[in-house]
Symmetry: none
Subunit: 148 residues, 2 copies
DNA sequence: AACTTTGACTTTCTTTGACTATTATACACC
DNA sequence: GGTGTATAATAGTCAAAGAAAGTCAAAGTT
């Protein structure tokens, strides 16, 4: 079995109980006798939001990598939805998606409204216009992936 | 290892009751077995005005460092809170706000989590770093205003 | 070709220590 | 007793060193 797979398994075993792990990158690297960046590789390829993982970290003394499992129990094909969304989104297309999600009971109205605000032009006023639709898509997808 | 976190926690424990602490820098440093300036570091990074702390001090004999917490729950209304937030926000400061909002029942956990994701570095990956904290602040404030 | 492993380089956060600034107190002098 | 001055007791500042984690591309595998 591949090293990355072993590391993945190791991490998932820990997460199983509490839906959360806090790793020390270099310790883990030492444990598996690999370079630290291998850990990043494993995380980047296996603990992605599409699979229901949320990752946060801190550098410096006492640093950590924290992986949180967000409950995916509902739909199985979020990644299909995400794929379809693409990497640019106008405000009006967001509305269409949200209405769709509501009608399929994927989201409730309150949540949908919150998302709408988060990705509105008002929220993104400081993002330059050329970039805005792709930032909007990022936030939108991040939210969808983590909410559904 | 995470000395600063310990010191932060220690101070916050004391503040909790009375919304105020008066510290003796060198005693505290001795207690935590560190150099006095570490205390300044902790204060400078964790007890900032954006988070509702006001710090005053005096040197010389009988000197002190006094940290006063200006309670969010005492804010008259949302606009006070928004004002306090300022126009730049790091991810970690967002976390602190969200925890605070939860503890004052201003937000429920689910909503807070959604906001956290909406303004995470992951969502904002395409916003260039110089701008990111101010975009984050915009989205955050927009959401707060519309949710509360 | 796609996936994995490795390593050099970067960025961020923390700890430490030398040096500086301010305030209180003790003591001398009138 | 008031005034000025030295000394001690604090706290502040800043930069260097240390401790993680992140990035990215080259090399290796399948």
């Amino acid at each position: 079995m591949k090293l990355s797979d072993l590391i993945e398994e190791y991490i998932k075993d820990i997460i199983e109980d509490t839906d959360m792990v806090e790793l020390n990158r270099s310790d883990l690297a030492t444990k598996f006798n690999c370079v630290p960046s291998q850990i990043n590789y494993v995380i980047a390829t296996r603990f992605i939001p599409e699979l229901g993982f949320y990752v946060e970290s801190r550098r410096g003394g006492g640093g950590y990598i924290r992986i949180i499992k967000t409950d995916l129990s509902k739909s199985e094909n979020i990644s299909d939805i995400i794929d379809k969304i693409g990497n640019k989104l106008s405000q009006s297309v967001v509305d269409v998606y949200l209405r769709e999600f509501i009608s399929y009971n994927i989201l409730d109205e309150k949540t949908a409204n919150l998302i709408k605000i988060a990705v509105s032009d008002k929220s993104l006023a400081k993002v330059d216009k050329l970039n805005r639709d792709s930032v909007r898509a990022d936030i939108f997808k991040c939210l969808i992936v983590n909410l559904i």
